[in-house]
Symmetry: C2
Subunit: 391 residues, 2 copies
């Protein structure tokens, strides 16, 4: 181990799963050009995972295995980027390595389109999704407005956000005047009131001839059930056909008779590197760089953060927070970010969200398409005799 | 009327509906800046319609009304842009005005994302949708590839194209190597074979760990029914919940057990001015300009067209075709554009589609969002005493 510098940089293939299975990628075998191209390439270049480490007492073998892999490859710094689950993983590894007396700097880096990590102004990824969602509903709104006289009057766009309405809220940035899209936003924070909603849609169509709606996938009915799961079942009785957008659209059709269209942007929204916010890209890199600097400065069990100094002009700096304060804490939208009627965003929300979508950071194009990079991702030679199957 | 020049330019509000109801927009009241901004603004700035004139014998009153409006406002040139129905409208108006002895130059301008007009290399709007669709499936493909190890293995993106697979085919441009998205394209031209499709998906996941699929909304089952309409019904028995993407995704889940995600881009794809093809934008303007020049040169009952001179380099010029040759003719995809297995595009298809997505033509941004224009759209003073209700 090198106390003041980093030698090789290995990446776990598919995140912590690669660390557990000793499936490590030697990033030094990539060209500088390819590594640089990651800045304009969407998604996790080394693979990602949905895998949360259990508690240390529940599955000690996993933690022992991790340290075994780290020791075998002389790993002294562990960086892990992601949302709440990833920060929790970092925290547990920091705790276990400390207990085990293995010197390891564990640094978390925030990254989640859900924007629900505490202690940081925002989470990388979110600003770009926010921009995509606001751009998309503005564009679709123009389309519906032009067609409304003789065709589609209602458009419903579904966006991500199972538990918090950050992404849904950001669509509201597209509206600068009441006649513009989105007219109604359905937040997971606001229990869906069908009767009131139908009245709002009808009033909107009567006033503006059309109604553009953004619905969060996490919208809940008064019973606490996800609206997306309240839909119909297929011939086999499976419920997962849904999506909240088609259900809300069909409800409007049934009640008011308006012709509708709906969209579900799903992964398109979070992979849309072509319309990334340059503020977001800049902060993502600053947080990663800061994490490395913190590790080299001997710090441990922290996550790098964005501290907002001012809204307008948007001034921010880098900070840090203990992983214990981050893990398993979900940052909810403040109540005063949603208008009293429950369907719009307040000026306070605009002041918060506005800066995050500023600036365009277009990728380079080749043959009319973004020139994204796929790394070689060559494996580091295994050193351990044993294999390991994640639980 | 001015034989060699055009005085005022009026736009029908909501297309031909505005002409029938004498609801005309005086475009001279817009600023030059706003008119120029239409170049980077999506959708129909004067409103659009789904309204097809009936045959002259069936509804002579409509045609008489149109000429009455044209006479009242000294209209000598009629330009109408759109797809097959719009060209048919132009053709009928040209015929009727000729019969009635009213001197009117009727010029059609191609414009449809469906790309199904004959006699023109392509239709404005299509190249930009093609670019959006190819960019989107490339981006989502990166996302799914990174997650596939422990999460989503299958992604289905639904695109427009009720009758022809032009848009679905263009997604194929995103794939430069077999491992890249999209792995399977479901065309309306190829009858859906569930058993074979499931085999293809399974083989793809086994080989590449994930499978990215683009499904045309017009996909048909062997019975000739739209797959999108074969899905479940809601509590009221309505069938329109569907969308082909959730049905195909659920089918894969039921048969193979793979975790899936799906997206329906709907209006987002055709309104996505932020990712427009500069080739498309350039051709759209060239076709409009040519239409005006043709009218001033005394021509009538024609549509301006794009003639492809060569594929590579892509060289094109402006041509024209009689409206009678365009109306009610649907340009199908050539059979040799789809690979023998029915799930991909051929090199011939790539040679055709490739040039249409070249170049980026970004709109200007303001506060992090595209600065699209909404015109004032002030009405021309009515001159007729009578009103008219379109059928």
């Amino acid at each position: 181990m090198h106390p003041n510098r980093i030698g090789a940089v290995y990446a776990g293939r598919y995140g912590i799963v690669g660390a557990l299975t000793e499936d490590l990628i030697d990033t030094s075998l990539e060209t500088d050009e390819d590594i640089a191209a990651l800045r304009h390439t969407p998604s996790g270049a080394f693979g990602s995972c949905r895998y949360k480490l259990k508690g240390i007492e529940e599955n000690r073998a996993e933690y022992e295995r991790l340290l075994e892999v780290f020791k075998a490859h002389d790993i002294g710094y562990f960086f892990y980027n992601g949302g709440g689950d990833s920060q929790d993983t970092s925290k547990k590894i920091a705790e276990f390595s400390r207990e085990a007396g293995y010197p390891l700097a564990c640094i978390g880096i925030p990254k989640t389109v859900d924007n629900d990590l505490p202690a940081t102004d925002n989470c990388p990824g979110f600003g770009s999704v926010a921009k995509y969602v606001a751009v998309s509903i503005r564009e679709a709104g123009f389309d519906v407005a032009s067609m409304a006289k003789t065709s589609t009057k209602v458009f419903v766009m579904e966006v991500m956000g199972r538990h918090t309405g950050w992404i849904a809220a950001s669509s509201g940035l597209a509206q600068t005047r009441p006649r513009e899209a989105p007219h109604l936003i359905l937040f997971p924070e606001v229990t869906f009131d069908e009767e009131d909603f139908i009245k709002q849609v009808e009033a909107c169509v009567q006033k503006y001839a059309y109604c553009a709606i953004v619905a969060s996938e996490g919208l809940k009915s008064p019973s606490g059930q996800f609206v997306a799961e309240s839909g119909s079942r297929d011939a086999f009785g499976h419920a997962q056909l849904g999506g909240v957008a088609p259900i809300v659209a069909q409800m409007i059709k049934n009640r008011l008779g308006y012709k509708y269209h709906w969209a579900v942007s799903d992964y398109l929204q979070r992979a849309a590197r072509h319309i990334a916010s340059s503020t977001d890209v800049e902060q993502a890199y600053a947080l990663g760089r800061a994490a490395v600097e913190m590790a080299l400065a001997g710090r441990n069990a922290i996550m790098s953060t964005i501290i907002r100094v001012s809204d307008d002009p948007y001034v921010w700096e880098i900070g840090s927070v203990g992983l214990a304060e981050v893990a398993n804490v979900e940052k909810k939208m403040p109540k005063d970010f949603i208008t009293d009627d429950g369907y719009g965003i307040t000026d306070a929300c605009r002041r918060y969200l506005g800066p995050l979508i500023q600036g365009e950071d277009y990728p380079p194009y080749r043959d009319g398409l973004p020139n994204y990079v796929t790394l070689k991702n060559k494996a580091v030679l295994r050193k351990l005799a044993t294999t390991f199957e994640p639980a």
